[in-house]
Subunit: 201 residues, 2 copies
């Protein structure tokens, strides 16, 4: 039991140290030795758990994709019956994806820094396109928007806001990560804009 | 005349080499020597034109801000008289800012990589907030959106799309930078979404 805990924790420490260093300096500028030192472990351990530095980066990217994209993908895969359900599904998608991005901000920084191709991200955007296209067919989404061309609108907004949250907090005093009331207001304003547009009906 | 041209061109080569290296490796991982070598000049020249490495980075960020934000700031500072003018002003803002970001993609990569505070960017977002708030007062923008909380919506969308354009082109075959027809369709779908929302009226 103790041994298991220790094993888990070494692996986790390598994961976190790798994510911190990749996010700060970039993959190419970080050595295996540096990661192991930051994790307080010997060099053998990274080979044991992740094969090599690339394996560690892959694990960080994969874990991020699983933690952030898996639930939204399931959410957008299920059919909706009417406009109210469509809207509440999008609300849930927006709130839960924001929360997941905030909880996984460090791997998000790594993903952003390395601009890696992400199958999970493509998969999510594909599901989003299908979700919107179906709603167009069912008559409650306007048809003069091409779903393929706006599929990134919400993800861009969420990811950028989470990435820049500390800088925005420093500037404006509004802290998306630490202030739940502000986060709720932010979600409401941005969702209303996305659903109903800027111009008065 | 020839001498002037040569002077200009050395300065520009340093600017471009600095932007390329900062974008690729980050400020801290690039040496003055490396930039000068890439620019095909001696080390004295960077001191001559930009004082030091920080001066070169500042020049890149300032030039980016001037090239990308100055026109949109002027555009949003002028009053609009009615809804039609409001909409056409936003269209112009969206198209021209996209074009400027595409033309300044290399400095955009530098700015993104270093997450520097940008007075010009804050200034633009502030103008945008005022522009939308005035339109709310004039009755053609819906009032249940807080302008401060959605001011980054269009800039996020534009900047992310330009940053990832080569990756998106590789994935999907759609090239925002090289294909003017696609760019026009992309602008139309995203503007319509921003102005009128997803849900059918």
């Amino acid at each position: 039991m103790n041994s298991d805990n220790k094993t888990e924790s070494t692996k986790e420490r390598l994961f976190t140290a790798g994510a911190e260093l990749f996010a700060e300096k970039g993959f190419d500028s970080v050595s295996v030795r540096e990661i192991c030192k930051a994790a307080g472990t010997s060099m053998n351990m990274i080979h044991h758990y992740y094969d090599n530095k690339q394996g560690l980066l892959d694990a960080i990217v994969d874990t991020f994709a699983e933690n952030v994209f898996a639930f939204p993908i399931r959410l957008l895969s299920k059919d909706v019956q009417n406009e109210a359900e469509f809207i509440s599904r999008l609300e849930l998608f927006f709130e839960e994806t924001l929360n997941a991005l905030i909880e996984n901000r460090l791997p998000l920084l790594v993903v952003q820094k390395h601009q890696t191709k992400s199958t999970a991200m493509s998969n999510l955007l594909g599901k989003f396109v299908q979700f919107v296209a179906k709603a167009q067919n069912n008559g409650f989404v306007q048809t003069d928007i091409e779903p393929e061309l706006m599929s990134g609108f919400l993800m861009d907004r969420l990811a950028t806001q989470v990435l820049y949250a500390p800088l925005i907090a420093e500037y404006s005093g509004y802290d998306l990560i630490g202030d739940p009331d502000y986060r709720a207001r932010w979600v409401q304003s941005n969702l209303k804009l996305f659903l109903y547009g800027l111009v008065k009906r």
